[in-house]
Structure formats: structure tokens, C-alpha cells
């Protein structure tokens, strides 16, 4: 029987704190294994109304609706799910100029040893660049302080901003996600 390592949630609680400090109070989520602990934290956090979705492009629609209620929406998703959102990001958020923050796992990097993630490593970031999305690598505890600036950049530039959740950050947890 496979054993899956547990994860220290304190790191993800810090991410949630930074998101809350950026006045984000709504989260739509469909996690992979790297982002799943953040979803667990957001589910529990009283500052957030967090809901799970069936497929990632719903996140783009839900966060668009959230924007019209006076708050930035937060999407939490894996790199594969991000690839699935190309059309909705292009035709909805870029055409209508809708800001939101997306926390996306930065899969397929050299330190990610899952073979089924390697294509995402070569395509997700270029897709974000092609769509003209501002982004921030969450690669150290210090980098979490940039989440507020990312949220502000999303508003200023009227488009989604992406916080890439890296393995470099996650492995700083005492019990990290398996590779």
C-alpha cells in the first residue's frame, strides 16, 4: 500500500493570510496535489467563501462574477487545469478586462519528477506569457509578501495575475509533497 506524506499546513496558512490581506475573500478551487493543502486551508478560513468546482474553466467564470460584487476572486488550480482555461482567460478575462488572482502549481520544472507533468512545464508558463498575464513565483517564504503587489497589478492591468506555487517553496515544509 502506498503511503502519502502529510504536509505542514503552516506555509499554506501564510499564503492564505497574504491573500486575505490583499482583500480577497472568495476562492474557487480545483487542486492538484501541490495546491490541495491550500484548498484545505481556504476551506477552513473564515475570511474566505471557498467552493470546489467540477472543472477549472468554471473558476474563471466564478471569479469574473466575484469581481462584479466588489472583490477580487481567487482561483486555485493545477498547471494542467490552467492549460484547460486558455479559452476562458482569453475570451472572457482579456476581452472584458477582468482582474483576478490565480494560484497555479508550477509543474514540470526540473525538480518535479512526475513524468505526467513534464509537458505542463514546457507549456503553462509560455501560455501565461502569451496571454499577457503578470505573474509571481512563490519560491521562498519571503516571496509570499509579493501576493499583495500581484493582486494590485491584476487590478491595474485589468487581467488575471498568476502566483506560481513552486516546489522550491513547498519543500521548505518539514514534510513535503512527494516527488
Amino acid at each position: 500500500m502506498l503511503e502519502y506524506p502529510s504536509v505542514d499546513l503552516s506555509l499554506f496558512e501564510r499564503i492564505a493570510d497574504e491573500l486575505a490581506a490583499a482583500r480577497i475573500g472568495f476562492a474557487a478551487m480545483l487542486p492538484d496535489d501541490w495546491t490541495s493543502p491550500l484548498c484545505t486551508v481556504l476551506d477552513r478560513a473564515p475570511e474566505f467563501r471557498a467552493i470546489r468546482v467540477a472543472r477549472e474553466p468554471e473558476i474563471i467564470g466564478l471569479c469574473t462574477g466575484c469581481f462584479f460584487t466588489g472583490s477580487l476572486g481567487l482561483g486555485v488550480l493545477g498547471a494542467t487545469g490552467f492549460l484547460a482555461c486558455a479559452s476562458e482567460i482569453a475570451t472572457l478575462t482579456r476581452r472584458y478586462q477582468i482582474p483576478m488572482v490565480l494560484v497555479v502549481s508550477k509543474r514540470g520544472t526540473l525538480d518535479d519528477h512526475q513524468v505526467f507533468q513534464e509537458v505542463q512545464g514546457r507549456t503553462a508558463r509560455p501560455m501565461a506569457d502569451l496571454l499577457g498575464l503578470p505573474s509571481l513565483d512563490l519560491d521562498s517564504p519571503e516571496s509570499l509578501a509579493g501576493i499583495g503587489d500581484l493582486a494590485n497589478a491584476s487590478r491595474l492591468q485589468k487581467r488575471p495575475g498568476i502566483a506560481w506555487l513552486t516546489k522550491a517553496l513547498i519543500v521548505q515544509s518539514p514534510t513535503a509533497v512527494a516527488s
Binding site: 468546482v53 474553466p57 467564470g61 466564478l62 462574477g65 472583490s71 475570451t91 472572457l92 478586462q97
Partner: protein, 202 residues
């Protein structure tokens, strides 16, 4: 059976203060033609996800009653959204589906599995108890009125448009994305006393 015109006319006559979010194509164009409403939001994009936009508003703004005007073609592109909607079950949300078994703006090109899919049954089996199908203007009006009492899913069977061949007609709505965003956002601000845009307009 309802016609496209009687369907939208019934919704327009039943509509009072609901926030309306329209799916693209026939739905958006017909709602614009019926109302000229700039306080509605027209998702002429992201086919299938107007209902997600509407759900996001309903979940964040409990004092608003929100109607998602959807079509079967769009719903088929986001059928999983029914699960999300069922799980969240916002009492201030109604998902209203025009079921004409075809793509109206593609001159009636047939929808996959046309005539066999029971969307209301799918919604009921997903856990939305108040999911109904209607065939007439009176039943549609009654279902819309009933929808004001809680989360609802209304499927209206509407006559299919005549089948033809041709390119997609131009949009009826003379407003593009950013203008629709600001018109709708400013309406939300004045209607609900919220701040969608900051002091510098973004």
C-alpha cells in the same frame, strides 16, 4: 411549444429586479432585443460559463437575486457546472435554460444528442430539487415566479430554429467587452452600494 420570441417575452414580463447574466449567441442577442438592458451582463465569450459568472455573483452578494439565462448548447459545454451549482445551492440563484436542441446562431445546426437529453433530470439527480421542465409561456412564467423562493433550475423547451446554412450573423449588442464591464459594474455599484471600481476607475 414556446417560440424563441415568446420565451424571451415571458422572461421579460416576469423580470422585476433580478440581476441577469446572459449566455452568448441567441440568448444574449434576444435579451438585448427584448430589453435593451445595460444593467444586464452579456457574456459574448467563454461559451458555457455565463452560468458560472452568475453563480459567482449570487454566492458573493446574497441580497441580489440572480438569473443566469443559458442555452442547451452552452450548458452542454459546462455540464459539470451543474455539480458546482448543486453543491453551492445559493437560494438567490436561478439557472434558466433555453432548450432548442440546436445552435441558433449557427442556423439551427443540431446539438449533440439532440432531443434525448433531459437537463432538468440531470439537475435533479445532481441534487437540485427545484429543477423543472416547461413547455408553455404560462408554465415558464409560473416557474420563474416560483424561482424567487430558492435555488431553481428551469429548462424551457423552445421550438428549434429553421435549419439553414450560412455564416454567423453579427452581434445585436452594440457594446464591446470593456463597455459592457463598466456599464454592468457601475449598475452593481449604484444598485447595491458596493465599490466594484476604485477611485481611479480600475
Amino acid at each position: 411549444m414556446l417560440t424563441t420570441e415568446s420565451y424571451f417575452d415571458t422572461i421579460r414580463r416576469t423580470w422585476t429586479d433580478e440581476i441577469v447574466v446572459c449566455s452568448l449567441g441567441t440568448t444574449a442577442d434576444s435579451w438585448w432585443d427584448a430589453t435593451r438592458s445595460t444593467s444586464s451582463f452579456y457574456v459574448n465569450a467563454a461559451m458555457g460559463f455565463a452560468s458560472s459568472v452568475a453563480l459567482g455573483i449570487a454566492l458573493r452578494l446574497s441580497q441580489a437575486r440572480v438569473w443566469a439565462l443559458d442555452s442547451d448548447g452552452a450548458l452542454a459545454m459546462n455540464l459539470g457546472g451543474i455539480l458546482t451549482e448543486a453543491a453551492a445551492a445559493p437560494p438567490n440563484f436561478a439557472h434558466i435554460v433555453l432548450d432548442n436542441r440546436s445552435y441558433g446562431c449557427l442556423h439551427g445546426a443540431p446539438l449533440v444528442n439532440a432531443g434525448r437529453t433531459d437537463y432538468a433530470a440531470i439537475a435533479r439527480d445532481a441534487g437540485i430539487a427545484a429543477a423543472v421542465s416547461v413547455e408553455s409561456a404560462d408554465d415558464l412564467g409560473a416557474a420563474l415566479a416560483q424561482s424567487r423562493t430558492g435555488h431553481a433550475f428551469v429548462v424551457a423547451h423552445v421550438a428549434s430554429p429553421p435549419r439553414g446554412v450560412g455564416l454567423e450573423p453579427p452581434l445585436a449588442i452594440p457594446l464591446d467587452g470593456p463597455e459592457l464591464k463598466y456599464a454592468f459594474g457601475r449598475h452593481m455599484e449604484s444598485r447595491f452600494g458596493i465599490q466594484v471600481f476604485g477611485p481611479q476607475g480600475y
